[in-house]
């Protein structure tokens, strides 16, 4: 590999990080809200896929990509509320229910989405932040989608809101000690219902990005498990929205490594690099685990079985 090849791989990885990270970012921010309230929603993979389908279908039918984003958010919110509502019934386990809803969301999306595989939908706009450069690679890498910027702002906002707003503190209290929350007169189930709903909205929007920008079409293989990896990413980011942003960029960059190597002509073994995000997930979880220590920052109510 020569000098230019190395640079172009680096630029492609940066561009890929920006392009690929957005669904990770939205799903992990949504999951952070849900887990901070003391519940795990593993169904966000299904929500993501259904969000992608509903956004694409809406954009095809109305001609507006933003209408698609709105519908995807609403649909995601419904999935979240459904999860939250079923979880408050007695003897329901949130993890098992999440897996069921993951399959349900994907299945429902495939069922309704059959008709929308062929037609093409309007795409979400991107800002060309690379026009200062003469290099076409740099220009391509710095095509930044509006949703990415929204996600970045949202992670900053959530980080601030968890410390400085009443709503943020209530969510943290409910997630850390349900008994304390009840003693203060908060309705634990209601807070968790709304937190799971909010998480669903964000996951749905993450799905809209998949089908309306990158890769920018609707098909049944549109998500390669981003929804599930984002849940692991929340643990990696220690339930901190700002760290979620960094982690999403890291995973996005790792995901772009395979295609970038292929584009500069590395023809042997490049497909191994497609596995980079998954290897990274495993490596990160092993590296941050300990047999003797509890995870710092984990909400106290998380994973409590009923």
């Amino acid at each position: 590999m020569n000098e230019i090849g190395l640079w172009s791989v680096l630029i492609a990885v940066i561009g890929g990080a920006i392009r690929v990270s957005t669904p990770f970012l939205f799903v992990s921010l949504g999951e952070t809200i849900t887990e901070r309230s003391g519940r795990i929603n593993l169904g966000l993979e299904g929500t993501l896929v259904f969000g992608a389908m509903s956004a694409y279908a809406t954009a095809v039918l109305t001609g507006s990509a933003w209408a698609g984003v709105a519908v995807a958010g609403c649909a995601g919110g419904m999935f979240g509320l459904l999860h939250g509502w079923i979880c408050r019934l007695p003897r329901v386990n949130d993890v098992a229910l999440g897996i069921a809803l993951m399959l349900f969301g994907s299945g429902l999306a495939f069922f309704f989405g059959k008709a929308f595989i062929q037609p093409s939908a309007p795409q979400l706009p991107a800002l060309a932040l690379g026009n200062w450069s003469d290099l076409p690679q740099v220009r391509a890498a710095l095509q930044v989608n509006v949703l990415f910027l929204v996600g970045a702002a949202l992670s900053l906002f959530l980080w601030w809101a968890f410390r400085n707003t009443r709503v943020g503190l209530v969510v943290r209290i409910v997630g850390d000690s349900a008994d304390a929350a009840r003693a203060m007169g908060y309705h634990v189930d209601r807070v968790r219902l709304l937190a799971t709903g909010a998480g669903g909205v964000l996951a749905g929007i993450g799905g809209a990005y998949l089908s309306l920008y990158y890769p920018g079409s609707w098909n049944e293989g549109i998500s390669s498990g981003q929804g599930l990896m984002a849940v692991a990413l929340v643990v990696f980011a220690r339930w901190n929205p700002l760290a979620c942003f960094g982690a999403a960029l890291l995973f996005g960059g790792a995901g772009a490594l395979g295609p970038a190597l292929q584009s500069v002509g590395v023809s042997s073994g490049y497909y191994l690099f497609y596995a980079a995000p998954y290897v990274l997930t495993l490596g990160v979880l092993v590296a941050t685990s300990s047999p003797d220590r509890a995870l710092a920052g984990a909400p106290g109510e998380l994973g409590q079985s009923k």
Binding site: N164, L169, A183, D292
Partner: protein
């Protein structure tokens, strides 16, 4: 909005308070009055209905019948928030602070009128001014999870005063405090009551505290109000008689023989460990327990005793140092505890020593279910040969025998052990741990939350094991228990052993000073 009453202490009265759970009356027609500015103690055994009564006052439970008068007016309190709005506040036995939030965040968020966006700088200034008027100093910027139990308790009380509680209920407030701390906290609250700022209702077991700080007392037994009066007019014997009713109380078995100082059963050297959060570290330089000796480990909760017990029980790993039992290395493995005859009775036995949903029979078999004995009498004893197939009938025989010998009250030997009362769970665990020959017995808070008669019986069993030649390490937060049982006493403070004294020369005041870290 609740009706406004003038500032200062308020009186609370219950009239005919009754609470039934099914056919069982936890509270039966209790009428009592706490004057404005009073300091009233509520005495009673476990299960006498003390907690039920205060939970009915606070709106946690809806009483089956009866009513509550606040400042002379009948009020309907349906939830704790309503009680708070009327100036009633309660400090619970378990903490209601949120562990990951700082003291400051905990206080502000407990207010009924938390603003949507919180101005931390303004809140901090307002709280600093408020803390000037408070009886104790606290660091409000640390997460509650990092505070010691005594500090948490003080923060709970501060929180109620911050919420402008004018009638304060304390549920066994001193169980996690040193004698000196308890005296300080209760003395300051008593002074506030005397100035007419608050009224106090305190649930307690401790006669000494009741006599020193309360002005009046009520005694509950089996849900009924059986007596009361002004402190000073009632003797300790009067109060004990009201609490217990007519019933024989077993005395602890006599100590026979002296410690066999030639035989070191447990020897700890340079032990280092830390708990799961990594915040509490212990460093035990040297500790030896001889045969036929009870060594009591005293300390305020959260000073490393739990971590010491967890290392010896194999629940956390030591980072350094040595634990030797009978001369051999020991790190809590099953084969070692079998070979070196170590038995372990952890605190909260239902959680730490039982599988709650498995039956009493199965729980009793945990030490020996994979062993087959020779002959009927040794069936299922830990000394037997290893076996792959379980011998159900031997397990059931053994369970029936142990249930009868230790007086475990259970509906059936096949009932899940979680359905037993706390005392009976502890009896079952003792039965499992003490029937086979024991060289070393490690016990942590064995009588926590148990009633009078169960306590006497369990202490008798521990003493009997010692008399038979076992070395006993007794880790307890109950200083009276330590003083009663121990041949030798050590005090842990901040993860270290800071004091050692023989049981005969022990002085509660000196021990208390070392528990508090003044040495």
């Amino acid at each position: 909005m609740p009706p406004e009453t003038p500032p200062g202490a308020i009186a609370v009265e219950t009239i005919g308070m009754t609470k039934r759970f099914g056919a069982f009356a936890a509270l039966d027609d209790v009428s009592m009055k706490i004057e404005a500015g009073g300091f009233h103690a509520l005495l009673g055994e476990n299960g006498a209905g003390k907690s039920t009564l205060v939970k009915c006052i606070m709106g946690f439970y809806a009483p089956s019948s009866g009513s509550v008068l606040v400042a002379g007016r009948e009020v309907a309190i349906t939830n704790p928030k309503g009680a708070q709005g009327r100036g009633l506040g309660m400090v619970y036995q378990h903490f209601t602070l949120v562990p990951s939030l700082t003291g400051l965040e905990n206080l502000v968020v407990a207010r009924p009128d938390v603003p949507a966006v919180i101005d931390w700088r303004g809140e901090r200034a307002a709280l600093a001014a408020f803390m000037e008027r408070m009886p104790f100093r606290l660091n409000l910027d640390r997460p509650v999870a990092e505070l010691a139990a005594g500090e948490k308790q003080k923060l709970e009380i501060i929180k109620q005063l911050y919420l402008e509680a004018r009638f304060l209920i304390l549920d066994e407030p001193t169980s996690v405090l040193t004698p000196d701390e308890a005296g300080e906290v209760l003395g300051l609250l008593r002074a506030m009551a005397d100035r007419g700022e608050i009224s106090v209702l305190m649930i307690s077991h401790k006669f000494r505290e009741v006599e020193a700080f309360a002005r009046s007392v009520s005694v509950l037994r089996r849900g009924r109000l059986v007596g009361g009066g002004r402190v000073g007019e009632l003797s300790r014997d009067d109060m004990a008689a009201m609490m217990m009713g007519a019933r024989p109380v077993r005395v602890v078995a006599d100590r026979t023989g002296t410690p066999d100082t030639a035989r070191d059963v447990l020897r700890i050297a340079g032990l280092r460990a830390s708990d799961a959060s990594g915040l509490r570290r212990i460093a035990v330089e040297g500790l030896t327990v001889h045969a036929r000796e009870i060594v009591g480990v005293a300390g305020v909760s959260g000073n490393g005793q739990k971590e010491l017990a967890d290392v010896l029980g194999g629940q956390i790993r030591a980072e350094g140092g040595q634990v030797r039992v009978g001369g051999e290395a020991y790190d809590g493995r099953r084969a070692q505890s079998r070979a070196q005859r170590v038995r372990f009775i952890p605190e909260e036995p239902l959680r730490n020593a039982c599988a709650p949903r498995m039956s009493v029979t199965e729980n009793l078999a945990f030490r020996a279910f994979d062993r087959r004995g020779e002959g009927a009498s040794r069936a299922g004893s830990p000394a037997g040969r290893p076996t792959f197939w379980l011998d159900g009938s031997a397990m059931r025989r053994r369970a029936k025998d142990l249930i009868a010998r230790f007086g475990v009250k259970t509906a059936s030997s096949e009932a899940p052990i979680a359905t037993l009362s706390g005392g009976n769970v502890q009896r079952a665990v003792l039965a499992r741990e003490l029937t086979d020959p024991v060289d070393l017995l490690i016990v942590a808070n064995p009588c926590f939350g148990l009633d009078f008669s169960a306590v006497a019986e369990i202490r008798t069993r521990i003493m009997a094991a010692r008399n038979a030649g076992a070395a006993v390490l007794l880790i307890s937060e109950d200083l009276d228990e330590i003083l009663e049982l121990s041949d030798r006493i050590v005090v842990m403070s901040d993860g270290r052993i800071v004091y050692e004294v023989s049981g005969a020369q022990a002085d509660a005041q000196a021990i208390g000073r070392h528990m508090a870290g003044h040495h």
